[in-house]
């Protein structure tokens, strides 16, 4: 395996050390070095904490999104492995004050099991912690079974909007309602072009013929659910946008936020091309695009591939989305006229 690590044992801790060294005014390690948190917590001042535990190997999500206006903490598991309930509990204890906490959970088996267990343990200790399940990947369960779907890149809308709302003093109950509303308005579909290499075992994470693309690739390199032959990207994007709009139709005239997420091995050249196709397809249906988010935010090592997320924010959601933040690896969000 050609990867630039010191050793398998240290790879996650070395990454965290590098991140903390790079942004010492914003980010520190918690009492457990796998808890990455803001240097200055405001959760003692009646601010609801927003945090997530997840497996590493997908950076910049979620560690890079800790900072003012976004997450209070990220509990960093081993590569592609949800942190233990015990470790998530340490993260909760580290940042939760009297206003309580939203524990975000991207819906994957280990994250759900361990996140729910940690929330229960915290509640037993009289901390007001509410888990919020995030799911957006339309390839993982059919319409009508949305709650069975897994979390993908579209969960970023929830991170940012809840992070900004919590910063502004929105209370825990209202944050949960807001998060569920963002979730209900978000859909994602992904495609994989070629596999990344697992840092755990050095193996390619799936196999795919040279002329094939997987639709519905998982964020851990889980093989996809259907295949297509490689062709001009506009055909692939048209297929994916059709699927997204069939799953959740968007009325003409509804301002829409597009996220084109790269899986780690797809170039900005390609991602911009894909965005152009998405926007022209939506234009064709009279759907105006807000300033988009394009880049590798939720990655799976050097996997080549991308996902398209469509989200139709309400006016307050858009305000939270565009609110300033200081998370080192979350992009600048450009504002625009209100909806």
């Amino acid at each position: 395996m050609k990867k630039l690590f010191n050793s398998q044992q240290r790879m996650v801790d070395d990454m965290i050390s590098g991140f903390v060294a790079a942004y010492p005014d914003q980010i520190v390690k918690g009492s457990n070095s796998r808890v990455v948190r803001r240097k200055t917590l405001r959760t003692k001042d009646n601010k609801v904490a927003v945090l997530i535990g997840n497996g590493s190997g997908h950076e910049p999500i979620a560690m890079g999104f800790v900072g003012h206006g976004l997450l209070d903490a990220n509990v960093v598991g081993d590569v592609f492995t949800a942190p233990s309930p015990d470790l998530i509990l340490e993260g909760i204890e580290e940042v939760t004050g009297s206003a309580g906490a939203v524990l975000l959970i991207s819906r994957h088996e280990g994250d759900v099991i361990n996140g729910n267990a940690a929330a229960m343990m915290a509640q037993d200790d009289d901390l007001d912690v509410r888990p919020l399940l995030m799911y957006d990947d339309i390839s993982s369960a059919p319409r009508g079974q949305e709650h069975e779907r897994r979390g993908a890149a579209g969960t970023l809308f929830i991170y940012k909007i809840l992070g900004a709302a919590a910063e502004a003093g929105v209370a825990l109950d209202d944050l949960i309602v807001l998060g569920e509303a963002v979730r209900a308005r978000t859909r994602t579909l992904g495609a994989a072009v070629s596999p990344g290499v697992s840092p755990i075992n050095g193996e390619l994470m799936f196999s795919l013929a040279d002329d094939e693309i997987y639709i519905g690739m998982g964020v851990h390199g889980e093989p996809g659910v259907s295949r297509r032959t490689v062709g001009p990207v506009n055909e692939l994007v048209a297929f994916m946008v059709d699927e997204l709009l069939a799953d959740r139709p968007i009325e003409s005239g509804t301002p829409t936020l597009v996220l084109v997420n790269g899986s780690g091995g797809t170039t900005m050249m390609e991602l911009l091309t894909i965005y152009g196709e998405v926007q022209s397809l939506l234009d064709g249906q009279g759907i105006p695009c807000l300033s988009p988010m394009i880049g590798p935010f939720s990655t799976t090592q050097e996997t080549a591939g991308f996902s398209i997320s469509l989200f139709t924010p309400t006016e307050p959601m858009l305000t939270w989305w565009q609110a300033p933040h200081a998370a080192p690896l979350f992009p600048t969000i450009f504002g625009e006229a209100a909806v």
């Binding site: 497996g55 598991g77 081993d78 590569v79 592609f80 492995t81 949800a82 942190p83 233990s84 309930p85 015990d86 470790l87 994957h108 088996e109 280990g110 099991i113 361990n114 729910n116 267990a117 390839s139 993982s140 897994r150 697992s198 755990i200 075992n201 193996e203 994470m205 799936f206 997987y214 519905g216 998982g218 851990h220 390199g221 889980e222 093989p223 996809g224 659910v225 259907s226 295949r227």
Partner: protein, 177 residues
Amino acid sequence: MTTELFDDWVERFETLEVALNQLDAATGDGDHGATMLKGLRAVQLSPEQPAKAFRKAAGGASGSLFSLVIGALDSVMRGRQSLPEALSTAASRITQMGQAVAGDKTMLDALLPAATATTVTDAVTAARAGCLATQAMSARRGRARYVEGAGVGCIDAGATSVAELLEVFEKHWQEDS
């Protein structure tokens, strides 16, 4: 002695690590062997309770779910519970936490049949048979469910680990004699 059991678990899973990773790779992210070994090494070395040591070190769904199997076998070794009691309790908690049932192509397909056996030897045989039966099943839980074909044709890695844990356990367990 439980410490010898722990040593043998580590030894067995060292030899199985790559094979379990490969079984897992067919339907998941290919780290099941590595995760089990990480957890079992902590069981071997940590001063904490075996189940907790496993859960913290392994992480992931496997950490929480397999810690219940480790804890069950540890309590049987210490004479606190009978094997069927311990395995049944573990299986029902795993069902609850993982929202899986028999036939979903998970570790439960080895554990549930094992829990109905009256002797350790029968439990191992039942777990092995249950594990092989996962080959024909399509996954409805875990990452495998999201895969093309839902993993039909592949033996479930988690079910395999249950059978292996039990088989090593059997060597250390003297039936009421």
